[in-house]
């Protein structure tokens, strides 16, 4: 005789609820929630730069800091978990000063011209990055890559030091304009343990000379890079940019307001990643995948990310061929 045993699904204990106060409002959320998430649930906006839902928080930019009552220093809201009875202030004078200075530090040392939302943020916080002095002339190609840890030339009182340097163009698919790099670590995480597991790039050097680099700063074609472009997808500043977009921007023809986005499925393989095709003037100008897509988390491979030129190549059959060209 067979006895049928019914197997119960293990019931997961509901998460403990934690009550805290944010800007005078009481809020309750699951244990383990970040302060940032709790703030957003209340509709409180907090600026972030190095935070992304799909990446492990590195909490390095410090733009998202908030004041936690009783704490000696400010806390990064993007990664600090809520605690029972916490009293959080997101707009205290200390918070506002720290954010303004972080923004001024970045704006005075990095080219933020292609960072979405940055101009508004700088205005909102009343930033005056020029008070640190006029930007120093850009470094020679390779100069920052050769910097030696623990040493720097004495400052020139006439200028504010910057990370300005020539754009690295060493392949046909994307460019690296590290003059625009805020060192948010996102590309390193995306290329490494969080997504791609290729480890083609890492942070090298130290202090103000810290930089994103391949080994020995070799050109990308000599590195482990597989051109998935997943670093481009997470870069918040446009430092990493597909060549197509970079060239159109240089030519003054890039116009986001004239672009539409159409979601489709990548035609190449059986995984079937969701592709968002960005189209301007009836031409595909960029391919991405939605960050919130549960399968791709915004990632693609070289084919999906860059392999769409054939769509707008010479018309199929126009050259009398068999449709493959």
């Amino acid at each position: 005789m067979t006895t049928l045993v019914r197997i119960e699904r293990p019931v997961r204990a509901p998460k403990a609820q934690v009550a805290l106060t944010i800007d005078g409002q009481s809020v309750t959320a699951d244990e383990g929630t970040t302060i940032l998430a709790a703030c957003r649930s209340l509709g409180i906006e907090i600026p972030t730069l190095c935070f992304l839902e799909t990446l492990r928080p590195v909490n390095v930019c410090r733009l998202c800091v908030v004041e936690v009552e009783g704490a000696r220093v400010l806390a990064p809201s993007c990664s600090r978990a809520i605690e029972a009875g916490m009293v959080v202030r997101t707009k205290s004078p200390r918070v506002v000063l720290a954010r303004r200075l972080v923004l001024e530090f970045l704006a005075s040392s990095v080219d933020l011209s292609t960072t979405p939302g940055m101009a508004e943020l700088l205005a909102e916080y009343g930033c005056q990055p020029e008070r640190f002095g006029p930007p120093a002339p850009q470094a020679l190609a390779g100069e920052r890559d050769a910097a030696i840890a623990g040493h720097h030339a004495p400052p020139d009182p006439a200028f504010a030091a910057t990370v300005a340097q020539p754009v690295k163009v060493d392949n046909d698919l994307y460019v690296r304009d590290y003059a625009k790099c805020v060192l948010c670590y996102k590309c390193v995480e995306a290329c490494g343990p969080d997504h791609q597991n290729t480890f083609a790039i890492a942070v090298a050097g130290r202090g103000f000379n810290a930089r994103i680099s391949t080994e020995l700063a070799v050109p990308l074609p000599d590195s482990a890079c597989v051109y998935c472009g997943n670093c481009i997808a997470v870069c918040p500043t446009g430092a990493l940019m597909a060549s197509a977009e970079f060239e159109m921007r240089a030519a003054g023809t890039w116009d986001e307001s004239a672009q539409t986005t159409t979601d489709t499925i990548c035609p190449y393989c059986g995984v079937g990643c969701t592709l968002s095709l960005h189209v301007q003037d009836n031409t595909i100008v960029k391919a991405t995948s939605p960050l919130e897509n549960g399968i791709t988390l915004g990632n693609l491979c070289i084919k999906g990310r860059f392999g769409w030129q054939f769509v707008q190549g010479p018309r199929r059959g126009a050259s009398g061929g068999d449709g493959r060209g």
Binding site: L74, R94, A149, A160, R206, F208, L216, D222
Partner: protein, 625 residues
């Protein structure tokens, strides 16, 4: 993970140097010849390989010590042996100041130009060097210069922990038998001779400057300079290992009870109660537990741990063993700053002698517990003294501090519960175990128990390490050290501490006394400056130090330390933007943002000394005085 290696092979010397640290490769999977083992049928990789990552820095140090720099072929071989992606290894190699990633001469003289040496002749030494050969790295004299391997080169260095024998220099010479010497009282002539190939002579730290030698009131220093630091039997004859024997008889809980009763707090800077830390680790369920002795001592002006490590190394081994016993640790690391070669030799000797005598290893003193100690050398990074950066460094990564919480007692090195204590903190454990926590707490003040080591340097006649009960006045300490009658300022607590005016030295040297005077004892630095000193120049050097030593991870510190240094240079050269008061207001905003928003203590204290120079000393046209 597949690794794309560099297209370069190591030289035979490089290969041998790496194999000496990592062992010979066992198969083609980790850099051996093809077909040497079962490698055609079995894949070696995965977790076992990833767990080798912690050997990255020792392997890179082996290359540095053998050929003087980390070449492409050498780097590639290390990556192949340890399965570390070359970009990651490059990120690590370029983080540490004493690892060279471009060719360097085999012999390099690292000349200290930090706060304690500047006024003691370092500038003359440096000008003598400029005449002989150009500097390596971005130095005031100009650009990178790739020198030939056989002609010695020189570089500036931050504080070498030898301020009592200023000016100091560290000589490193790569080779089959590499040389490292920490030299004191360097002169322009001796420096030039070093560049010309003269033998570097004896390590200055072989003899300890100990102004109180033989004083019966000494507790932590009582054996230093008196008992042979290279003899276990001499150490035992002087009462060594009585504390461990007693601790094992007491049991771990009782040891922690005594440490708690002693009210001992950490001497590494943060003054955290040691008993609380030990208890927290003891009760953690995750295993193993690790013990880390923080011997990175890189705070400018600090040299007390060096004196303990070279003068009484067995005491550190014994106190670590007691700490491990109490907290359930089976493995201990000493993270020792690279610039202390003699301390490394003496400590390694003490560890080996203790192991031979059954005082380390399995079933110590028949107490049924096992513990061993490994020394990890730093590679030139002040930030690696910060406890979580230190863990990262041991794990073979860039020394970037972690965000806290979680704290080390829960998630420390290798993700396990970890006790991290300063050398001097550990040294206090011996008297606490021997005489009891209550007896220990009778010395000092109510809020600061026991004695404290102070590092006296600068404008004093008798520099060196002094041991005093907490609560003694700074004035009496300065008098004992023979401070200049024309004293103008004192740097208390190190570069992360504060300057005091000559009329502010009546404070009691206790934690609460320092706090009340709005200053800090920090790592015990007491550096005196008289009216011959160019204090503006000293403050500029402090600002340069923080810029050089910032790990670069977080924006407030990475850019803030640059903006701070720039503003000070503008003020110092009379080129202020919008007047001195505008610049001072700007400095204040930069400083407050660094203090409030930086990840770790480096950024959080990078403004402290500058602020006190402006507000207390009235430099740069600021504040009183």
């Amino acid at each position: 993970m597949d690794i794309k290696l560099l297209d370069a092979a190591p030289s035979n010397d490089e290969r041998a140097a790496v194999d000496a640290v990592l062992g010979a490769p066992t198969s083609a999977w980790d850099g051996g010849a093809r077909g040497t083992g079962d490698d055609s049928h079995v894949a070696f990789g995965g977790r076992a390989m990833r767990e080798q990552r912690h050997r990255l820095v020792p392997a890179l140090q082996a290359l540095q010590a053998r050929v003087g720099w980390i070449s492409e072929g050498g780097l590639s071989y290390v990556c192949e042996r340890l399965h570390v992606p070359p970009a990651e290894a490059w990120g690590v190699a370029t983080f540490y100041a004493l690892l060279a990633t471009s060719p360097r001469p085999r012999r390099v003289v690292h000349v200290c130009d930090d706060v304690g040496c500047r006024s003691k002749g370092a500038k003359a030494v440096l000008s003598a060097m400029v005449g002989v050969s150009p500097a390596i790295a971005h130095e005031p004299s100009g650009d990178h210069v790739h020198l030939d391997a056989d002609r010695a080169g020189w570089m500036h260095s931050p504080c070498l922990g030898l301020c009592d024998q200023a000016p100091a220099a560290l000589v490193t010479e790569a080779g089959a038998v590499p040389t490292e010497r920490l030299l004191g009282h360097v002169t322009p002539e001796s420096a030039r001779a070093l560049l010309d190939g003269a033998a570097p002579g004896d390590d200055a730290t072989a003899v300890t400057l100990l102004p109180q030698r033989g004083d019966p009131s000494l507790v932590l220093l009582k054996r230093v300079g008196v008992v042979d630091p290279t003899s276990l039997s001499a150490y035992r004859a002087a009462g060594g290992y009585e504390a461990l024997t007693k601790a094992i008889a007491m049991g771990p809980e009782a040891v922690i009870r005594e440490v708690t009763a002693s009210k001992l707090v950490g001497r590494g800077g943060a003054a955290f109660p040691t008993g609380r830390k030990w208890e927290a680790v003891r009760t953690q369920r995750a295993t193993p537990h690790y013990l880390v002795c923080n011997a990175d001592e890189s705070e400018p002006g600090t040299f007390k741990d060096r004196v303990l490590l070279t003068g009484d190394p067995f005491a550190i081994v014994e106190s670590m063993t007691i700490a491990a016993y109490a907290t359930g640790c089976t493995k201990g690391f000493v993270y020792l700053r690279a610039e202390y070669p003699l301390a490394a030799t003496r400590l390694q000797h003490a560890i080996d002698a203790a192991r031979t005598a059954g005082l380390l290893g399995a079933d110590i003193l028949g107490g049924g517990f096992s513990f061993d100690i490994e020394i990890r050398r730093g590679a030139g990074a002040y930030i690696c003294g910060e406890e979580t950066a230190l863990f990262e460094s041991i794990e073979g990564k860039r020394g970037e501090p972690r965000s806290k919480p979680p704290f080390p007692v829960e998630v420390g090195v290798f993700g396990k519960p970890t006790v991290v204590n300063n050398v001097e903190t550990l040294a206090n454990v011996l008297p606490i175990v021997l005489h009891g926590g209550d007896a220990f707490a009778k010395t000092g003040t109510a809020g600061s128990t026991g004695t404290r080591l102070f590092c006296l340097s600068g404008a004093v006649a008798k520099p060196g390490v002094y041991e005093l009960p907490f609560g003694a006045s700074l004035r009496s300490l300065l008098a004992a050290a023979g401070a200049s009658p024309r004293l103008r300022a004192v740097l208390l607590g190190g570069a992360a501490g504060t300057f005091l005016r000559a009329d502010e030295i009546d404070l009691p040297l206790s934690l609460e006394g320092a706090r009340a005077a709005n200053t800090t004892l920090g790592s015990g630095v007491v550096m005196a400056f008289d009216d011959e000193e160019d204090l503006v120049d000293i403050v500029l050097r402090v600002a340069a130090f923080f810029r050089d030593e910032s790990c670069g991870q977080c924006v407030p510190c990475r850019v803030g330390t640059v903006r701070q240094e720039e503003a000070l240079h503008r003020l110092a050269r009379g080129k202020s933007r919008g007047g001195a008061s505008t610049e001072i207001a700007l400095l204040e905003e930069v400083g407050v943002a660094m203090r409030d928003a930086s990840i770790c203590g480096l950024g959080q204290t990078a403004y402290a000394a500058v602020e006190s120079a402006v507000k207390r000393l009235g430099l740069f046209g600021g504040g009183a005085a």
